[in-house]
Amino acid sequence: MTLRLEAITKVVEGRTHIKPTTLELHPGRFNVLLGPTGAGKTSLIKMMAGLDPIASGKVILDGEDVTRRNPQKRRISLVHQFFVNYPHMTVFENIASPLRVAGVPKSEIQGRVEAAADVLKLRPMLDRRPHELSGGQQQRTALARAIAKDSRAVFLDEPLANLDYKLREELREQLPDLFAGRGAVVVYATSEPEEALLLGGETALMEDGHVRQFGPTADIYRAPASLAAARTFSDPPINAAPVTVSGGTARMGSATWAAARADGDYTFAIRPHHVLPQPMANGVALEGTVAVTELSGSESSAHFDLDGRPWVSLAHGVHPYRVGEPHTFHMDPADGFWFGPDGAPVQEGR
């Protein structure tokens, strides 16, 4: 079972919201749509689910063209960012509702609902109604509904975004197991790069209605195909600055280092956790002025001004920065990415 998108587009009032998108999504792993708010993740999910019209292109589910087919005939499930359950039905009835509509025999419904409830630890709440549940339990009910239904594709549109931190972590850990071995194509939209990394599988980087890059999550993280992709897959935002290489020496503002690259202008980008406040082997010193510092848990981040550009350093431990004063940060240029004037990555070598 696969879900294939063939150059699908979405046009609203003459404006193309989703540019031609071609993807092949497989079951057995998470297919993550990663991008900032407004990138088109929800639109793309709605198009795959049949809720939004497709201007051109095809959606092929399990070998059959479902482009113009009603959502209910596609055998799919969708879990929203908001907790959507039928308000006056009990948890049991909520989970059972798609099965009842589909005409599943009563005897079978009981078993399937209970199985889904067990997986999501909803057994004791089967008789309650949504307003008597916590946010996490409400979202688990919505997930149970998606699981109990024998779907060919499951769309999860930022399902954890409205949950508090603890519940989010707990549910995120369970998610891959929930859908493992069900044979359904799982599509998961998120705006958090960390979530994509934790869920693994494959990631489609989305920006401004485009899928910028698609492939195994770890590969994309290690080798972003464009500066835009590198930006999307970094939180806090990736540091970038223009670099000029001449005669084997890279010059970025006042910092210089030896670089085996052809002469020319590049954009050098490096993730914040590779820019550290202490010296390192092969390190290049960056003379910055500390602007803002933040402590979160055991990490400290410093926003500093580097030749007029805002850069960020993210380091383990608590570091004594003084706001407004100069500080020398360090980075190993080997951790960074090089992009040419066209935004495409440039490999090492002359």
């Binding site: 689910a49 809720l51 959502p71 005939k73 960012q81 959507v84 308000p87 039905m89």
Partner: protein
């Protein structure tokens, strides 16, 4: 615990005490006062106990008026609530027509009650009224609300439906537009029918606003006075003499202050009891 005693706090509650006293307690106690006394004029009063309450509760005239009142309120609720919900469902959710619809809906409610009564009074007259003439001459219905009780009822019900369905529409519409699209999408994916969407999403989500709408329509229609008074004056005969019209006849027509006071209190108690029962039943399972 060290408590600070500061008598100045009384000054802060004084305005609200005065307000409640003058707009509720004093008029209410005046009525209570009338209801337990007999008067022969000249402001001389004699204690009469519960005599007037007994008289009202056993009076056939009161029973008849109460019956008409219950019938009127039941009919207009049965028409206005489903009709209001149906209209709200048909209204556009977004676009340029939304403000147009809302203003059109709000118009009848902006018209003063006695004007509504006068409008319908003239409009339904069989000889010169647009509606009355049309019914007689074009439809062929021998319609005359000033002579025929059924016609009079049809007219006051039509008038109330015209005047107040909008309230239900606006409240139901407010409930409908507050339902996130995600619910409809979930229903679409589940393959729920149009009826199931109404039954399982729209109706439950509208429940609280509909409770308020029904409550407001119940109270207003049960206490209705101005419109039927201007339209039919309670006639023909006593056919449309609703409770409030009868009450005014007793109090100001016959100047029977004692029975009128007792009837007011009974009337008030019925309205309060039904409202309380309805609201309690509707909200009993709410979060």
């Amino acid at each position: 615990m060290n408590k600070t005693w500061n008598q100045k706090a009384w000054l802060l509650v004084l305005p609200v005490v005065l307000l409640v006293a003058f707009n509720a307690l004093v008029p209410m106690m005046t009525v209570v006062n009338y209801s337990v006394q007999e008067t022969f004029g000249n402001n001389t009063f004699f204690w009469s106990g519960l005599q007037w309450f007994e008289q009202i509760l056993t009076s056939e005239r009161f029973h008849a008026a109460l019956g008409r009142q219950v019938l009127f309120t039941s009919i207009i609720l049965l028409i206005e609530v489903p009709l209001g919900v149906a209209i709200a469902l048909c209204m556009p959710k977004k676009g340029v027509w939304v403000p147009v619809c809302l203003v059109l809906m709000a118009l009848p409610m902006l018209i003063p009650w006695n004007v509504v009564g006068s409008m319908w009074n003239i409009m339904a007259l069989p000889d010169i009224g647009l509606l009355g003439y049309f019914l007689n001459e074009v439809v062929g219905w021998q319609f005359d609300y000033t002579q025929d009780p059924i016609d009079a009822w049809v007219t006051i019900i039509a008038m109330d439906v015209w005047h107040w369905t909008s309230l239900v529409v606006l409240l139901a519409y407010a409930g409908l537009v507050s339902i996130p699209d995600a619910y409809y999408q979930a229903a679409e994916i589940d393959g729920a029918s149009r009826w199931a969407v109404f039954r399982h999403i729209q109706l439950p989500k509208m429940k609280s606003v509909l409770t308020i709408a029904i409550l407001l329509r119940f109270i207003d229609s049960f206490n209705i006075y101005t419109e039927p008074f201007t339209l039919t004056g309670g006639g023909p005969g006593n056919a449309t003499t609703l409770l409030s019209i009868d009450l005014v006849k007793i109090a100001l027509g016959q100047f029977d202050l004692g029975p009128a006071g007792a009837m007011s209190l009974i009337y008030f108690a019925i309205t309060l009891l039904v409202s309380w029962l309805f609201y309690t039943l509707m909200t009993r399972n709410d979060p």
